[in-house]
Amino acid sequence: MDEGSELSLSVAHVVQRLKGSHLHSQIERQAKECLHQPEIKLDSLKEDVRSFLKTAGWERKLQNSVYRELHVQPPPSHPAAPPEHLKEPLAYMRKAQASWEKRVLKSLNSMSTELGVPLARMRPAAEQKELTNKWNEMGTDEPDLSRFRPVYAPKDFLEVLVSLRNPNHDSSEDVSARSHWGLIQVPLNVRDVPQLRRAFCELNLTAGQLGIDDHAHMHPDLFENDYVQIGKKVVVDQDSAAAQQYSRQGCPTGLRADLWALILNSTNQPPDVMHYEQLKAGVIQHDLLVDNLIYKDVKLTASNDDYYFVFEDFLYQVLLCFSRDAAVLEHFKYNSATPPKSYIQGKVGDEECAVVYPPNGIIPFHGFSMYVAPLCFLYNEPSKLYSVFREMYIRFFFRLHSISSSHSGIVSLCLQFERLLQTHLPQLFYHLRQIGAQPLRIAFKWMVRAFSGYLSTDQLLLLWDRILGYDSLEVVAVLAAAVFAFRAENLMEVTSLASAEAVLADLSTLKVMPLIQIFLFATAI
């Protein structure tokens, strides 16, 4: 496909997606109303309406919407390529994802059968009323969740990734200095330090960073004051692309909520609030088995965390509604995963009665609520919090728990972490390998959660600023390697996996930006 037709195809896709959206009808209404204005002349109608819309800020809103669509647009595909190729081009990865999904579904089915709890049930009227009254304090409920167990934990998923093999890959050569020492044995393209230096050039030692140059010892006039002024200007301008570029050097605490909402083009207009209310109605009406998994997960993770336990109620309000949101199904076009399917009772095989379960197609696993918890520090209105979380999930978080060859996918991140470690800290890697402490076994749980729950919240938010700014999760793999580099001396002295885990158990005192900066820009190549 040549560039010209690729571009027209992209444009056509974006137009199709924006047609009929709330923004579309708002702009139409504005265009109709502005015809009353005296400065709109008949003979230059088109240009006058256009410039009116521009000065009133509608062109900027449209630009932001287009920018958002480009983020979630699947890459241009060959006309002969089937839809599954778009989700994941490598056949063996599709197969691995499909068999992993089958395992998860079997597990959920047996949970339902063994416990005698249906996958979904309509709540009786009295129960619906009770839930509506208790909506803002679902955390006070103490349901009996002892019978429920998470469908899977990150370490189960890690075993699947470790066993991934390309049937066409020649692994007959013996393990040597040239081969890969880590657990991931698929040859994906991952970037090394020189390439990362070019890609993450704004994190250079010579550029100011929030997380480094806003330290108490530094005078704010040296960097911070000016940087915050620029941030305020970006928020006033309401420019999505500018906000994304700005976020690469960090977001000031006071502006972060607005900047992230701008980058994600996450609005809180009446239709969004209405959509959230509709989801809430879905929660009230039907009780799903996955709801218990969500309750259990929140109780086990966020409620036990010193930083996040206060947000327990918010987490239920977001995650239960998330499960009911059929709009999330759209992201499966570019996600290698497939939503689970079921049929209405008694109508098995009748495609008219086929449904997706849960409605959003995503089965939560142990730790899932940690994707939402940090956002509670930024947004206190449930529909806004929901809107931002959903957008972050369909852009980033879904890649952390599905098998794909994407450069931001968890498989690539694991491989990148191992490669960075083997290339730049070979002695450490070799030592850990010898004592049976493969580094990935320790770092995997950090990466699957994008470090949520392991770093202190201000540091985590600085990390997530860069994820948004660079539209990539690679910075998570870089940080994992940087943490090992930081604690290398202690790690060289341990003699077992358990003691290696102990050295890396507490990351709450770490400052992420200096670690990343030193690893990328101060490591000798």
Binding site: S5, E28, A80, S112, P187, N189, V348
Partner: protein, 218 residues
């Protein structure tokens, strides 16, 4: 993307099995070959003009296209020429990116005009020892769409073309500007009326019912 592939069918051609080349004698346990030749012959006696060649890659790092062309005269000898040399299919031969992609080679990418082609030779290269095998699949050759011969349709279409007439219009606004502004207003109202929503409705149940069976494992 070529609109042609929707309407035009691929030429029925014979794709010969790939031939892997080795240096010296072919020993069964020799190192993997890094070069492979796939010959695609067009139907005998019907040389074609090629619009594009499509195929599915399987771990080939680069491809060279050679064409056997026979001049228009019956007695003209057929000659081989290189149409495209070393087009990269995988940007790093040792890693996965591009290894299973669908590819198209368009005539505009070729150095030699792919007309009167009798046979196409695809030379595949995979220098990396990381892979057990490499090849391409699903090779299709799409011929150039012939321009339509003169038909009655084009005749009456040309009669409908507006002829520029300078009529005597003193004091009246230029009909072109009036008609274009009326067109613009009409277009605006049309746009406002059509309201095809691509936004989903969002219901997850079937007529209010969500009592489901167990999850489907197929």
């Amino acid at each position: 993307m070529s609109a042609c592939t929707d309407d035009v069918k691929a030429v029925t051609c014979t794709v010969k099995p790939p031939v892997y080349l080795h240096i010296g004698e072919t020993k069964p346990d020799a190192a993997h070959s890094g070069i492979c030749v796939v010959d695609v012959t067009l139907p005998f006696g019907k040389p074609a003009s090629i619009e594009e060649i499509t195929f599915k890659n399987y771990y080939t790092a680069s491809v060279t296209v050679r064409l056997l062309r026979r001049g228009p005269g019956q007695e003209a000898p057929a000659k081989w020429c290189t149409a495209l040399r070393d087009l990269p299919l995988m940007d790093n031969p040792h890693t996965e990116r591009g290894s299973q992609d669908y590819c198209t080679i368009h005539r505009t990418q070729m150095k030699a005009e792919p007309d009167h082609v009798v046979s196409v030779r695809l030379i595949l290269r995979q220098p990396s020892s990381a892979w057990l095998t490499f090849s391409i699949g699903d090779v299709k050759i799409f011929p150039r769409a012939e321009p339509d011969p003169e038909k009655e349709v084009s005749d009456w279409l040309s009669d409908l073309t507006l002829v520029d007439q300078h009529s005597d219009l003193e004091g009246l606004p230029d009909p072109q500007t009036v008609s274009s502004s009326i067109q613009q207003m009409w277009a605006l109202t049309e746009v406002m009326q059509t309201n095809q929503t691509s936004a989903s409705i969002g219901r997850f149940d079937v007529d209010g019912c969500y009592d489901i069976n167990l999850l489907s494992l197929t």
